[in-house]
Subunit: 309 residues, 2 copies
């Protein structure tokens, strides 16, 4: 499970950074990746990344501002062109479907795979055996959502070879051992679950927020998260500007991470005014004063998501 | 007057080339530039060019396929963001307005300048004292238009200093001289127009076509053009594929230039299958066998439009 940022600039692309998009790579977990927001030229960024559009499984749109949205029609079309044939599901605020469908209809785009657009207003969006994704409304100029991705705990693996040596084959005994119970071996002795069951891996929590002013929903979504991705459009000296434009400062992002008990914070969505490395490092320093485990999101870097559980 | 290609790839962006967009730079003529098609990430290409979005005056869309269209919402929004405040007018096939308006409404984009979308089905689109633009339908899977831009002849300039020495001030005499007539000087002698009027510059003709199979309309639009920009998606060995997908081969593009009596041909809209320089040069060679003044369009090169008149 890794994060791969493809756009970290606010509002417009710059020569240095693209508009917002972030991939959650789930290659080890499910051989796919998910996308959070899709600013213009996200498909171009994917071409320059180790990701393959055909492996894209879900897209979550935080809000409908153009710098988070306008890359969708091209990406959806190109995925078909590049042989993507597995289903693709989009989640986002009401209005998303009209935008997508208008673009695809006007351009007479032929989408060869199953495309579903799910408009939501928060809540649990989906759950399967390994992941659950829920969403809540933040505080922005238009409806903007945060997403909390919960990976389920992975039970330890049974030592199949040792079990075979004891004459135990796949079946009800396996289930008992997996549930932590002991079993009687054919020779009458007792086999403890802990002798053949590996250590279980606690699931991780990843919280990815859309544009927002500081708000309670952000802190709740980020509760105990292993990693929180939070916008930090401005330095705190521009707190008033941030408030006016419904954004957060680096310090506010760090405070949210701290209050939520998150383990790691990635700052993103930087105003174009911060061009140079020393300016960006100032953003990072400001966040670290409040929350030391803060890092600037850099585009085209693969960040592993650590287990802190 | 220059051509500046920002996208020369067909269908999808590649690592080497972007999807279609072409700027007609009119800095010397009117301190603006015009855009022909606007594939995704055209605004990103403009950032890497000597062009400034605020100087963009007209956009002409050839047809509504996504690779010619999906860069519009972002470019329109960013132009406002970057302080563009002069009017911007878009010309394109019916459907263009719905696409633009849906994108801007859904994203609640605030456009600070006057934006007009003119849907057309060919004919003369506009005419002012220096330029005329007309359009005609080509032969593609969906309605696709070509544009013929005619620069009007520029009359020679009067030698103001010499006229002053003869005691002639701005007024009716100027008009007579400009019309090629002679006038009587205060001392009674005759002043011939040719003595004080510079050589007139013949206007140039630029023809820029959308995706098309070979067709009569292409040849008519390109009649005597100083430069013709023609798609050439495939080598002629793939003429059947080109026909199936409603495109042209390099050879067909060259034949159109030849039949039209055009002076120069730029090939563009290359299939992604042509990646390497030697493959592209093969496209160029094929065209030059039929029409020697053929060149591949290269992105981020400024091509002056020569006067052949
Ligand atoms: Zn926003
Ligand atoms: Zn087309």
């Amino acid at each position: 499970m890794e994060l791969y940022f493809m756009g970290t600039n606010a509002g417009v692309p710059s020569l240095e950074r693209n508009v917002t998009s972030l991939a959650l790579r789930l290659f080890d977990e499910r051989r796919t990746f998910w996308l959070f927001d899709c600013g213009e030229a996200t498909q171009h960024q994917i071409l320059r990344s180790p990701l393959k559009l055909s492996k894209l499984e879900y897209i979550f749109i935080t809000h409908l501002h153009g710098d988070h949205l306008f890359g969708l029609p091209g990406l959806i079309s190109s995925r078909a062109y590049q042989g993507g044939n597995t289903p693709l599901t989009l989640f986002g605020p009401p209005g998303l479907k009209k935008f997508i469908m208008t673009a695809l209809e006007i351009s007479e785009s032929r989408i060869s795979y199953s495309l579903e657009v799910v408009e939501h207003e928060g809540g649990i969006l989906f759950e399967d055996e390994s992941f659950c994704v829920e969403s809540a409304l933040l505080d922005h100029r238009i409806d903007s959502f945060g997403y909390r991705i919960t990976e389920k705990d992975q039970p330890g693996k049974l030592d199949i070879e040792m079990l075979a040596r004891h004459g135990i084959k796949p079946g009800p005994m396996y289930g008992k051992l997996k549930r932590g119970e002991s079993i009687n071996l054919p020779d009458g002795s007792l086999l403890h679950s802990t002798d053949v069951l590996g250590i279980s891996k606690p699931g991780r929590i990843v919280t990815i927020l859309g544009d927002t002013r500081p708000c309670e929903a952000a802190v709740q979504l980020a509760q105990d998260a292993d990693v929180l991705v939070h916008e930090s459009t401005f330095l705190h000296e521009l707190a008033e500007t941030a408030y006016t434009y419904h954004h957060s400062t680096t310090k506010q992002a760090a405070e949210a991470a701290k209050r939520a008990g998150a383990k790691q914070l990635f700052l993103t969505h930087f105003s174009s005014r911060y061009k140079y490395n020393d300016q960006l490092q100032q953003l990072e320093r400001e966040a670290r004063e409040v929350f030391p485990q803060s890092d600037l999101a850099r585009e085209h870097v693969m960040y592993p998501i650590l287990r802190h559980g």
